[in-house]
Structures are given as structure tokens and as C-alpha cells.
């Protein structure tokens, strides 16, 4: 398992698209370092013969009929938009 000192909060915050202040970065570095040190105890467990699983009651291949049904109107879909015009979301410029 990786060493806890490898956590670089500033770098991970960029990956997460989350700006942090210098003070937050420093605080989280310490706090999450403690959490990862605690999580290090998982290294003790022999998992060599274990398959990862999630659901308590295994279920597979969940399908339903592919039938159209009523859903949002464009107006409803836009009802919470921070900026909108002409039935469209206005987004921040992505190309120069």
C-alpha cells in the first residue's frame, strides 16, 4: 500500500476541479494524512483470495423494457439553471 506522505492535496484538488485556499490545503494535508495513516491498517489483511463485491444480495443483468415515457419538458429541465436563454443552458466559454 502507498505511503501516506504521497498524498499531495494541492495536486489532487486540481484533479477534483476544486480550488482550495493555502490554509485549507495545509489543514487537509494534515487531517487526511491522519486518516490515510489510519487506513494503512488495511495492509494487514490477507486479500489474496478475495473477490471484490458490493451488493449484499447479488443481482445481475437488471433490465427493463425500453419504452418511452413522460419526463421533463425542456422548461422543467432548465428550471434550476444558473444561466439560460432560448431553451438552452448558457455555459462558460470553452474554446478560444
Amino acid at each position: 500500500m502507498a505511503q501516506t506522505s504521497e498524498l499531495d492535496v494541492a495536486y489532487v484538488a486540481k484533479l477534483a476541479r476544486l480550488s482550495l485556499t493555502g490554509a485549507e490545503t495545509q489543514l487537509f494535508q494534515k487531517q487526511l494524512g491522519d486518516v490515510l495513516k489510519y487506513a494503512g491498517k488495511l495492509r494487514e489483511v490477507d486479500v489474496s483470495h478475495v473477490e471484490a463485491a458490493a451488493h449484499a444480495v447479488p443481482i445481475f443483468n437488471v433490465f427493463r423494457e425500453d419504452e418511452p415515457r413522460d419526463w421533463f419538458t425542456a422548461e422543467e429541465a432548465l428550471s434550476n439553471a444558473p444561466r439560460k436563454a432560448n431553451g438552452l443552458f448558457i455555459v462558460t466559454k470553452v474554446v478560444e
Partner: protein, 485 residues
């Protein structure tokens, strides 16, 4: 009809009055409103209430339906059409849900009236409701203490008779722990028992919605309404829903209860331990057989939980990008600045911490070491429970190792706050069901603080833990105690 004491009734006590037309749903709502106006300034359980919409529903409520005319409070992470759904976060401050969650649709079909949204830790991340961006909720038993969390608003409202019942969500104990330390009943259903459609997702493989109520019977009544298959949630189980009230009243002869030896921890408060020991002896006197069992991987549960829950949260919360809904930063200089500042301004400290941790454990080079390893240890935890349930019908433990703590007491050290989930996390990892119910009081600084008993049952065995919990509850008086507000 004027009955100022009416909000103290349980749902099961209220129903016959409604059905005999001794009181109308509108009168019930008005009396509840008066109670909320009397006490909510002290406990701050609610984030928003729409009495006008609720009154309209009350006027046309069919009291002969299973929950006909009963107002139910809803944690502010569950979508109620037309109402705010803020998750107590700044990023959703102005958001209104465009549709009903499936559990809300089912509550309405059973005649219930979802009338208000309750406070919570932001995005359900916390164990004290102090991570709400709006305000902390206070414990009705001692206003200087927390009600638990993350469903702290729902728990405090029910405990203070400011709701007949409420829905919460439980990802690592967020229904059971606040129920325990606020002195009420809280059920975390089996993963997949209830639909998650319309819940704002925190950790999708762990989240379940469930009831917070004054009694076990009320919990069963709400589950009768909300449980069952939903094609809009592919993880929702297509299994029949029994009448959860049917097993209530059966005695405990032949029931085998397991005491996990790994749960005898040093850090348990002495008054909590004494109350739970007495509860176990009481269950034995009711006819249950007590069996020692082992859950060998218990000590890893919290580490596994905080890796998996934060990993899933970091992915789920990526949707809050300030494009389609929610807060958006002003005048971004480019797209990265738009995302970075929108999320910086919108999220609180605990949410940011968990996004960072979750992103890290999923990132290239660390995925196998943390996330994949945690998923494997999760499987070992699931197998621990499966083996224990070959020997016993249910497991018994404290719900929280300590009674309600003071506001501000634990906020500085996230790891200490995480350790409060020691008895509740594992049930979410294993996907099994669990209930917390009152089993006594601790005395602290001249206040009586409720203590919760947790019963864990195997997947889809809610009826069994209801039966055991009801037998205990009805032969004790803990559930009748009320805080002095």
C-alpha cells in the same frame, strides 16, 4: 378539536382518531404547526416548511389509506416535487426538486403528507448535523449537545414531537446514530429494499432511505408504504414486501441473538455499556437465547468505509459543476476557473475533505492500494456477517459508543468524528438491515441523554428485527420518555 398534546401521539395512535373522524387532517396539520412554531426556534430541526401546500393536501387527504392524513418530515436530501432540496449545502441553496423521489411518491400513495425538509450534515457527510451550511440542529434533551447526524434534523423533530415521523438516509449510520442519541427509533433498511431514485447520491453502494419514528410500530407502518421494487433504481431488489406489522407482538422464544465479541471495545462510555448490558439481559428474560459470535474483520470497517464512501462521493459530487443547476461562480476567466471556484464557494470543509480523499484513493497508482483493497476487505466483512447469521437471528450492540456530545466538541478532528460510526458502518458495507431503539439514559451535567440499542438483521429480514425491537420496546418504558422543551 383542540388538543395541544396531539403532536405527542405516535402515528399508530393518530390514525384511529383520523379514521373515526374525531379530528381532520387539516386540524392535525395545524396542531403540528403550532408545536413546530413553539419548539423549532430552540432545536432548528427544519430547513424549509410549506404549510400552504401541505394544507391543500390535508384538505383532500383520504384518511382510510394506510398513512392517510399523516404529515411526515423529509430529510433535505430526498426530492419532493416543487420543494427545496438543498442537502444543507450552499451549492444547492436555490435548487428546487423538479420531481418526487420514489419513496415520496409511495408515501403520497399511502396518504401521507410530506410537508417540510429537515436539516442535515451537508450532503449527509457527518455525525452531528454541525456540517450543515445553514445552522446546527440541537438535541432536544440538552440544547448544548448535537442530535447526531447526518439525519439530525429528522431525529430532533421526531424526538421533540415536531414531527409524527420522518424519513432520513443512512450511508454509515446516519439514521441509526441520530435516532439513538435523540431517543427515538431509526431503521436502516437492507441495501436495495427501498428505491434510491430521487435521493441526492452520496455513496451509491451504501445509501438507503428509511424511517425515524417514535415507536417500532410506526417504523413498520412507514416501511409498509415505501419499501419495494422500482425499475428506476437498478440496485433496488425485486423481492416481495411483507406486512411489517404482522410479526409485531410475537414473543421471543426460539430467537437467537448474537453478541459480537469484537464490539466489547474499551472506548464505550460506561453508562452506555451498562444500559446495553441490561437490555441484553432483558431480551434474555423475554425468551431470547444469547449467543457469543465473532465478526473478525470489525476493526477494519471504518477504514474500509471511509475509502469506499469518499471514493463514491467524489464521483457523485462531480455533477456539481455549476452548469445545469446549483451555484455558479461569477465571471470565471476560463472553464477550469469556473469549476474550481464554483465548487470552492459551494462546498463546505467536510465535503471538500471527502472529495479530496475520494479522488486520491481512485487516482492512478493508488486505486489498487486503497479502493480495490477496501472493496476486498468489504467482502470479508460481508462474509463475517453471513457466517454469524448462520448461528443467530440478529446481532445486538450499542448504536453509538457515546451519548450525545457537545456542539463543537469533535469538529476539529475529523478522524475522531469518523470513529463515532464504529457500530453502524459495517451494516452498510455488508448491505444488511439495522434498527436503533431507546434502551436507557445516561446522566450528564444534570441532563438525561438517550442511549440506543442496535439490532442488526440479515438482508431482507426487517420483519425479524422489528419483532425483536417491538418486544423489547413494549416491555420497557424508554420510548415513552419525552424531553422537556
Amino acid at each position: 378539536m383542540s388538543r395541544p398534546d396531539l403532536p405527542a401521539l405516535t402515528i399508530a395512535e393518530l390514525q384511529p382518531l383520523l379514521r373515526r373522524r374525531e379530528i381532520s387532517p387539516r386540524e392535525v396539520l395545524d396542531l403540528l404547526r403550532a408545536r413546530i412554531e413553539e419548539v423549532d426556534g430552540k432545536i432548528d430541526a427544519y430547513l424549509s416548511i410549506d404549510f400552504e401546500a401541505a394544507a391543500k393536501e390535508a384538505e383532500k387527504a383520504d384518511v382510510d389509506l394506510p398513512l392517510g392524513g399523516v404529515p411526515i418530515a423529509i430529510k433535505d436530501i430526498i426530492s419532493v416535487a416543487g420543494q427545496p432540496c438543498t442537502c444543507a449545502s450552499k451549492i444547492l441553496r436555490n435548487y428546487r426538486a423538479p420531481y418526487d423521489a420514489t419513496v415520496i411518491r409511495r408515501l403520497r400513495a399511502a396518504g401521507a403528507i410530506p410537508f417540510g425538509k429537515t436539516n442535515m450534515d451537508e450532503f449527509a457527510m457527518g455525525s452531528s448535523t454541525e456540517n450543515s451550511s445553514v445552522k446546527p440542529t440541537r438535541n432536544p434533551w440538552d440544547l448544548s449537545r448535537v442530535p447526531g447526524g447526518s439525519s439530525g434534523g429528522s431525529a430532533a423533530a421526531v424526538a421533540a414531537d415536531a414531527a409524527f415521523g420522518a424519513l432520513g438516509t443512512d450511508t454509515g449510520g446516519s439514521i441509526r446514530q441520530p435516532a439513538a442519541i435523540s431517543g427515538i427509533v431509526g431503521l436502516k433498511p437492507t441495501y436495495g429494499r427501498n428505491s434510491r431514485f430521487g435521493l441526492v447520491a452520496f455513496a451509491s453502494s451504501l445509501d438507503q432511505a428509511g424511517p425515524l419514528t417514535k415507536t417500532v410500530r410506526d417504523s413498520a407502518l412507514i416501511m409498509n408504504a415505501i419499501a419495494g421494487h422500482d425499475p428506476q433504481d437498478s440496485t433496488c431488489l425485486n423481492e416481495p414486501v411483507p406486512d411489517y406489522t404482522a410479526a409485531l407482538g410475537r414473543d421471543l422464544r426460539g430467537i437467537r441473538l448474537g453478541l459480537p465479541k469484537e464490539y466489547m471495545l474499551e472506548g464505550i462510555d460506561a453508562q452506555v455499556k451498562a444500559a446495553v448490558d441490561a437490555a441484553v439481559a432483558h431480551l434474555q428474560s423475554l425468551g431470547a437465547e444469547i449467543v457469543d459470535v465473532s465478526l473478525p474483520h470489525t476493526e477494519y470497517a471504518i477504514a474500509v468505509y471511509y475509502i469506499i464512501a469518499t471514493a463514491e462521493a467524489s464521483a457523485n459530487l462531480a455533477r456539481f459543476d455549476g452548469v445545469r443547476y446549483g451555484h455558479r461562480a461569477e465571471n470565471p476567466k476560463d472553464l477550469l476557473d469556473h469549476y474550481g471556484r464554483t465548487r470552492e464557494e459551494g462546498f463546505g470543509a467536510e465535503v471538500k475533505r471527502r472529495i479530496i480523499l475520494g479522488t486520491y484513493v481512485l487516482s492512478s497508482g493508488y486505486y489498487d492500494a486503497y479502493y480495490l483493497r477496501a472493496q476486498k476487505v468489504r467482502e470479508l466483512i460481508r462474509q463475517d456477517f453471513a457466517q454469524a447469521f448462520e448461528k443467530v437471528d440478529a446481532l445486538v450492540s450499542p448504536t453509538s459508543p457515546v451519548p450525545a456530545f457537545k456542539l463543537g466538541e469533535r469538529t476539529a478532528d475529523p478522524l475522531q468524528m469518523y470513529l463515532a460510526d464504529i457500530f453502524t458502518n459495517a451494516a452498510n458495507l455488508a448491505g444488511i438491515c439495522g434498527i436503533s431503539l431507546p434502551c436507557g439514559f445516561a446522566q450528564m451535567d444534570g441532563h438525561r441523554l438517550p442511549i440506543g440499542l442496535q439490532l442488526l438483521g440479515k438482508a431482507l429480514d426487517e420483519a425479524r428485527i422489528f419483532q425483536i425491537a417491538h418486544a423489547y420496546e413494549q416491555s420497557t418504558d424508554w420510548h415513552k420518555a419525552r424531553p422537556n422543551l
